[in-house]
Symmetry: C5
Subunit: 374 residues, 5 copies
């Protein structure tokens, strides 16, 4: 039931990510495996107030014993490159075929679905790239039940959940006293908070672009603005449905979520709204920058035209006069005047000065393209 697929490395910031779609008419629940995807690694956290186990599992079946227990189990699968392991995992957790499909056939839109006793949450995690612009984007799927939480990530790297792992290991805060629903909240919160460093980097890039567009607009600027708009569009597609997911968690009374965790989720919801707010603000700024860029290009053209016009308008009449006295008519009395040549030069100078005065009055001689900082 699993097909193979080729996948470009996730490190490219592709917007057109829907390349692994179902062939129309395939069975619901068919999973499509990308050959280049990293093979799944399975981590287990099993903890209660007193004890904590943290280890890497070799087979999915090892989970079975933990998820039966009263303690909270967090099974974290990283990588989607092996259909067999994923399907065995699906059997261990008794997942609906559509749940497995949604987890594996990434990208799926963030959403929430209730499968009697199991809550499927699809979320999208973004992590800032380290040396270059842009961000990694990765789907994180949650299956939340009373005593366990299964999370599936696309790949082992680029993860913003270290803080949560540390809080479990070192028993910081109240996480060890709470159930799987609190753990799910903590992870969702970390994912939402992961948008802030990304947004901060866009804020900085926008500020640089503002400077560039005002002082020295060029074609790279244009490309950069377009690039930012494209990436913000992508962020927007990631955060909008995520906000709806959290809102549904708070409001729709899904069973595994306790009343106390709902209060924490409100905080998480506020952050999601704040992220959305900032994405929209940045989008407006980026599109305003496009307008400014267009105006700046027009201004530059004006500068160029002014130079051409001033130079041409001054010298073309003078050249004409020179041309007149270069004519070879036999009877041109001026040519024989003693002061003819100096008078002619003086007239030319007078015309040039007159035109310069005219242009100065019009303000065409100022260099308006240098901008003083306010």
């Amino acid at each position: 039931m699993a097909k193979k697929r080729h996948r470009p490395p996730l490190t490219e910031n592709k917007l057109y990510t829907q390349e692994f779609y179902h062939q129309p008419g395939t069975l619901p629940g068919t999973i499509i495996i990308d050959e280049n995807a990293p093979p799944p690694i399975i981590f287990l956290f099993d903890y209660d107030q007193t004890d904590v186990i943290y280890k890497q599992l070799n087979t999915p079946e090892e989970c079975a014993v933990y998820i039966e227990k009263e303690s909270v189990s967090w099974v974290d699968v990283q990588g989607l490159g092996n259909a067999d392991i994923l399907q065995r995992l699906s059997q261990v957790f008794d997942l609906h075929p559509l749940v497995l499909e949604d987890m594996v056939n990434v990208p799926e839109r963030p959403k929430i679905e209730d499968y009697e006793g199991q809550l499927l949450i699809i979320a999208r995690m973004v992590v800032l790239k380290e040396r270059t612009f842009g961000f990694h984007s990765e789907q994180v799927s949650f299956v939340l039940a009373k005593n366990y939480l299964l999370t599936v990530q696309e790949e082992p790297e680029h993860d913003c959940l270290h803080g949560v792992r540390a809080r479990i290991s070192h028993n910081k805060g109240i996480i060890r006293k709470q159930g799987a629903d609190y753990l799910a909240y903590t992870l969702l919160d970390a994912i939402i908070d992961g948008f802030f460093p990304v947004l901060e980097s866009y804020g900085e890039r926008l500020e640089e672009l503002e400077e560039e567009v005002m002082v020295n607009p060029n074609r790279q600027t244009l490309q950069k603005i377009y690039q930012i708009r494209r990436e913000l569009l992508q962020l927007r597609r990631a955060i909008w449905p995520q906000r709806d997911v959290i809102n549904a968690l708070i409001r729709d009374g899904y069973e595994p979520i306790s009343e106390e965790v709902r209060i924490y989720l409100r905080d998480c919801y506020d952050h999601a709204v704040q992220v959305m707010d900032m994405v929209e603000t940045y989008r407006e700024l980026a599109s305003g920058l496009m307008d400014v860029y267009l105006s700046a290009v027009s201004n530059k053209m004006n500068e160029i035209m002014k130079v051409l016009t001033v130079v041409s308008t001054i010298f073309i009449p003078l050249t004409f006069i020179a041309g007149v006295y270069g004519m070879n008519f036999e009877r041109m009395p001026e040519l024989k005047f003693y002061w003819g040549y100096p008078i002619c030069l003086a007239a030319m100078a007078a015309i040039a000065v007159g035109l310069l005065f005219f242009f100065w009055r019009r303000g065409w001689l100022e260099n308006s393209s240098t901008i003083k900082p306010d």
Copy 2:
């Protein structure tokens, strides 16, 4: 009650497809037949868990015996070119006159309507064209009852339902265990999934256009952007109402849809939302490209003007000087100086170098139109 009409071949990507409208004031239920449309071919699937019949029928009346039976019957009519057959079909299935009208007078907007015991669903199927850009778009009408499903397609070719037929024939998945409502879901799902390959082709065209608009914008580019915007508008008109149809199927509790199928339809709904999302994203990108195109054209103009200005501004003053010493005044002492000519040439060279320096300082001598890839 059936009129004839001429129809352009469906292979053209026309947006203005409303050419076969009712004359205002005609009887409701009047059907309009396009003379060039292919004549209807009728296929029958009749299956239950154990047996499956698949054959082509010669007359609509042959359906009657199957749709009475307990087993699931799928009558698939392909082609709208014969009013007589369609009206006999309508009698066999006991259709409301408005149902027949909606099926035949294509294009109709996707919608859902309940006619006691029969559910009419109008959907729109898109199939990628093979050798050229664009897509075929075809209406598929469903009449769903307890034991049977009647589907009517505009023409026999370009169909993305092969996968479903194979699943019935080879008894893959649970389709043979389920009723006509599951079959309808499967077909709707195939239709929605059929949008993804089309969208992928637009993603690719947009990426090519981005490259073209940055590196070598020309008038064809403009046309291509406009063309893409127009086609995305068409896709949008197809997918929006379709999403509402699926949502209504999930939410409004139409009788023939079982609770179990509703869960599957949620998945189908998610895909429809994803399609819409991508169409909107592509539309935003295409309209952003238009802005970039405009800026790129302005940039190109700037380049041209710079060349003109640099050349004119350097040579016009020099030509003037040459003109001055070409004048024929009798008393021009410079002309008789031994070093007059070389000094004059040297002065000209000095002016040219000075102006070049001035332009270099302003950055006008750089060739900013070549773009280095990031």
Copy 3:
């Protein structure tokens, strides 16, 4: 209570049609008569399953006997040019003063209002102009009661209801078996269907404009795009509230509308939505065309500038060289060389060829303004 007014002929496609408003503070129910409006002509249809009467009435009072009868009576008044007749009509039908005001003080926004036992429906009918572009737009007011339907049109010509009249006269379909509510539906349906030929003409005009804007944009093009946008705005103002009216008829359970007619109205509603959809699509296309036009004008300017730049840049340096050797310095050794002149010409040719090569490399010598069809 009736005032006189001057009215421009309806054949002008005016958007600013609100010229006949109440003076602020006038009595509600005051009617304003346009002196140039055609005088009312009154037609009567009275029919049941067996008999049909169709005649023109001379006085409003003649209606009285028919509207008392059980049979369906359709009183169709065409023309608003006589206050006396309209007020007598109002008394015969016992209309609320506001109903008469809404009927006569055109244009009113399409709406629906319930006056115990009488349902007022204001609709707007558009009819394609015959020889020129654009459309006639006319208000049709309905007063629907159990046994009768009163319709008031602005003028006797330009009407798309002929089909309905024929169906009553020749007893086609079920119209004679149904009540006044079905008649009202039939007329509304004819009015909505009347938008399609108008839209088709806009589709054609847009296609012509697309061609024009790509191949030969000129100032007329600009005017035509603006004109189309303006007229589509007008169509939009007509269809939006009309859709709401039909929706209210289906949903709000107004008494005179039977359950069976509601099913037919759903079909009519679908067509209204389709009209709206197309109007919006055309509006987007028209506004996209404006962008394309702007780009095309910029492109044309680029062409012009290229020609100027190429010619100037080639000849200005050459003219300078000619100017140098036209100087009259006594000691210009080149002038006396035997091969001076041919060498000079050769140098000029070399410079010209070099510049041409430079421009050819930049692609400035191609004529990019001719567009090959894809």
Copy 4:
């Protein structure tokens, strides 16, 4: 409790009208008096079916006797320039401090508020200016109770309520038979109807601007378009909340409004929607005109460039040839040919004709800037 303020004359069409705001932290109910505002004049109408009293009152306390009576009393205060009178008025009518504040600290947004037994309605009245463009805008506050209506206008002039006063005085229509709620409706209706003459004037100005923008665009045009957009924005801010106010009056069942008056208010609501509709249409037209203006300016530039290019391109090569034969090389054989000069002139003419033909073929010699009326 009343402060003084300076106010610019109302006759200026200011959009930035919020200059008289509370200092943050002032007491709720504090009223701010504009020193230049006209002092309040108090008019009283007291009427029932048989009698009517109409007089100007000297002190607010004179109202007390009338508002106790069963008959309908309309106290109309015009002018806000005296804090003492306004506060005494407030005591007579027993107003909540916030009501007085809303009445006096203009401009307030149109709204409706219920103060047990008293209904506060804030409306905005616009009146066309007489000799120049634009409109006066003035707040009218209503306090409606069972037997009386208190209205407060900003100033005594520019009022569109004369018609209502005449109807009361001359007992026209049913106004004298109805209560204070009908009076309030009548005034609101007059205020809404007062938008139509203003809109008509904008319709006319837009038509003139369309003509101007197509035939002779200049910088004044730009300013006019901007001005219209700004004023339409202001109209929109006035009418949107007003529509909501009327809708609330119809729907929310405020006690002083009888069922019968609600029917009349529906008519008033329709007019408000029509006003909104037209404001939005005009705004779209004005913003479309901006696009057309930009295109027209580009077109004009194209014209200018064409002239420059044609003239330069023809004469620059010719001037070069003349320059060549103006060189002073000793051995230039052409100069000595007998037919040299005529051949040279003929060659120049041939080049000129060739270039003209080239430009004619490109369509650059047509004067596309003159527009023929369609």
Copy 5:
């Protein structure tokens, strides 16, 4: 649990203010302290109808005694620079950890949250800068309980609450007779009213920019328009959620808010809507100004091109003629005519006059860039 952070001075008008976000995965309730922030100063108001205490407290624990009492206590903390004091404060008031986090990790989006018996309100206060453009923006957090109100401001300066303090001290109005809910309303009202002076300053800047853009558009203008748009975006982000907060206070029946205070809050809500309305209006005006700027730049280019074209077109043909008679052909009969030279000059003059007439007819000689005031 408190971290240190560096903070830029609040006096900069930064939009990208999200620089102090949680590291993803940190504990909920973690507070982040900015090292440069001013240390908290604690003020106490304790009042009832008869007495009032106003003093500065040294330790948070001093509050305890007051908040137990029946009288209304207002604890106003100004400054966030000390984690210890803030956490002790939190213990005194028994705050939920998320409440403290929301108060300290500024900026938080304005919101309202109910914590059994305590109501958390996050608001944003703007204060006009004194000597330069722009505004300070500061978060004010409210914790409202039955007998006390705790407010936390970011810093001690720039506060628009002086009026409220004065009203308590001097017992003006009803504030001393009311509870803590009325105090909270009074402060919220002062905060909303604090937007008006800021908006007024934007109104003035927009008017100046309108003038500038019409009369003398330059690159600073562009920057200023962009700056205003950016700051209005910021204001909008501040006021939108604030309006929702006040609406929720009125509508959602939070326990500490009495019915009477709700009436006052309606007034406050109206002001918030008015602020929003004006922000949106200003945003539309600013974006309209951008269009006008672009057009003005194009117009200026037209002016420049006209000058160039007129001068070139007149002198280029004349120069050509001069060039012709400067040729050195041996047989050029015109050169020997007695009147050759004067005729030649006359012909040149005739051509110049003809061209000037041509340009005058086209209106190119008018100086359209000077704008007369209407």
